[in-house]
């Protein structure tokens, strides 16, 4: 494909499609990513072979620059580094000016942003769900700390935290990691979520996620969190972990509750793995835009969304944005609720 070599010298750019009504990131660097997956199945990768893995302890020199590590000594437990193949560039000088381009009256801005990787464990074969709750808590605290750092950059509007586990869930490296992508725009799904939550609040006077109580949808709960299958889950066996108390921004949430959240996340990942035969999965932290204050957001409530990759999207979903879920949420919740696993410490 000759176009990729033509692209390599170009800078990333964000373009707004006036028809689809959303922003798209154009990022030639992403085409150059290597993969350590031999096939699309995560089981086929060799989890013991870490000789060539840049995320393994001892191979730090093969990575893009480090942002911070925990603890800050050679025996680190996690590292936050720059992505070697960033979707957006932190090195684009000047403000994000809009420009008319290509002879069509559509908007484009320079592809400024941050794209970081959180290496969740120094050991290649240890996945997030194998880790202890307190170490998963450290990973969550690393997300929080990094978002707090990024929040000082005025042109960044939203930070998407996400994890891809397994090649078919979008991971290019099998070593357990997650990512943060800090954007100079508010992406369309976040705007839609805000409109939805705001509309609900205007109608009922209550926050849509403070309200969730339905027993049939409950998977599990802890002191400060509940986990449910949402009433209109987009994907089969989709799970949400929601803080009980109203909270709009993940990065302003209490540090001392992150271990508890880590324990519930671990439990959900293990239940999913056991009941659904270790599927590839994604999780995302669904939080609020950075430049909006917590006090103004009585309708917005952050949550952690876990999605096992059980079915792909086809033309119907791509065209309409409407998904077909073959499993009713109350049935999925029952299946997940009834696995008995101890809450790991």
């Amino acid at each position: 494909m000759s176009s990729q070599s033509q692209n390599t010298g170009r800078r990333p750019e964000l373009r707004h499609d006036p028809v689809a009504n959303r922003w798209v990131i154009f990022s030639p660097a992403r085409a150059k990513r290597p993969t350590d997956f031999k096939s699309k199945s995560p089981q086929n990768s060799n989890p013991g072979d870490n000789s060539s893995c840049p995320f393994c302890i001892g191979n730090e020199h093969e990575c893009a620059p480090e942002i911070f590590r925990v603890p800050s000594d050679p025996n680190w437990k996690l590292r936050v580094i720059e992505n070697l193949y960033p979707a957006l560039s932190r090195n684009i000088e000047g403000p994000c000016e809009e420009k008319e381009d290509m002879g069509v009256p559509a908007r484009a801005i320079a592809g400024f942003g941050f794209h970081d990787v959180v290496i969740e464990n120094p050991v290649h074969s240890v996945h997030l769900c194998d880790m202890e709750a307190r170490d998963i808590g450290q990973v969550l605290l690393a997300y929080k700390k990094r978002i707090q750092q990024i929040a000082s950059v005025e042109s960044i509007k939203y930070v998407q935290v996400f994890k891809n586990h397994g090649a078919s869930a979008g991971a290019s490296m099998s070593h357990s990691h997650s990512q943060l992508l800090a954007l100079p725009i508010i992406p369309s799904a976040v705007s839609a979520r805000f409109e939805g939550m705001n509309e609900y609040f205007k109608k009922t006077g209550k926050c849509s996620l403070c309200e969730v109580q339905a027993k049939e949808l409950l998977i599990d709960e802890s002191t400060h969190f509940i986990s449910i299958v949402p009433f209109a889950a987009t994907y089969p066996f989709e799970m949400w972990i929601i803080p009980r108390a109203h909270s709009s921004h993940f990065h302003e949430f209490d540090c001392d509750k992150m271990v508890e959240l880590g324990g519930l996340l671990k439990l959900m990942l293990r239940k999913m793995s056991l009941q659904l035969n270790n599927p590839p999965f994604n999780f995302m932290i669904q939080t609020s835009p950075l430049q909006v204050k917590e006090s103004e957001l009585s309708y917005a409530h952050w949550f952690l969304q876990i999605v096992p990759q059980l079915s792909g999207a086809g033309g119907f979903e791509m065209g309409s944005g409407c998904y077909i879920n073959p499993v009713f949420p109350e049935d999925a919740a029952k299946v997940l609720r009834e696995v008995n696993l101890p809450v790991a410490g």
Copy 2:
């Protein structure tokens, strides 16, 4: 997975998620679909083996009821039939009443709708892009005719026409076919597109798709259509075929231009196949809601969207609704423009 057997007796339902702000179809029947793909690669299916394919000529009795065929005799060239595993049910009595359900204040309606299959060719091994332009034109006319029939049902708000080619693009049958799904709601991507197009119109006084002229984005053109890579293409090598004259509803478009459209569609599919190594793909007809009149839609313009499946979505795309495209549209357009293929008759 025990939940699927529990589901089989239930009727489909549409639920609105107040948080994600979109409708989801819950359809237990979809879990029961068989597949004739041996693996996720369309090349691995055996295109010569039609003995067990219900879509082949001679096997009509294995299909769900027929809606119409062209021509209307035993030697049909195409058939429109009901989907044996419909996402929505045409047999749900009564109107689509909203109900409060599950103790959570969210909306649900009965899963009423039509889900049809267009068998594009009687022969198992003939794909759409192998067919002559006039026969592809007949397939497009079948879409139009079927939408016109459905348009008389007042509770249907939108019809999504789509094609999945290849297992990884969502196809469960290798015999060349496409589908229509008629919905009692306007799906979120359609609402977003309408808002985008309307906003553009308010700003410029012009329709966003009547305006497209950029030479750098052009792939090809015919008397009444142009094909482009859109300025902010969501997916690499995404293509749009757009009628030059303003037209809001595909099913109200001139019958006598469908062969020309079929020829340009064939050309785009062949260019894509040649330049991108025969990828799985989807195409979708992006049209306007049924109950809105053409005369009220000076901002809405239908188009046919073709998307080769070259990269999957990960947690970032799922969480944010923002896509990362490694190929700039002007580069993709150049690659597709410069393949020389004759316009087939």
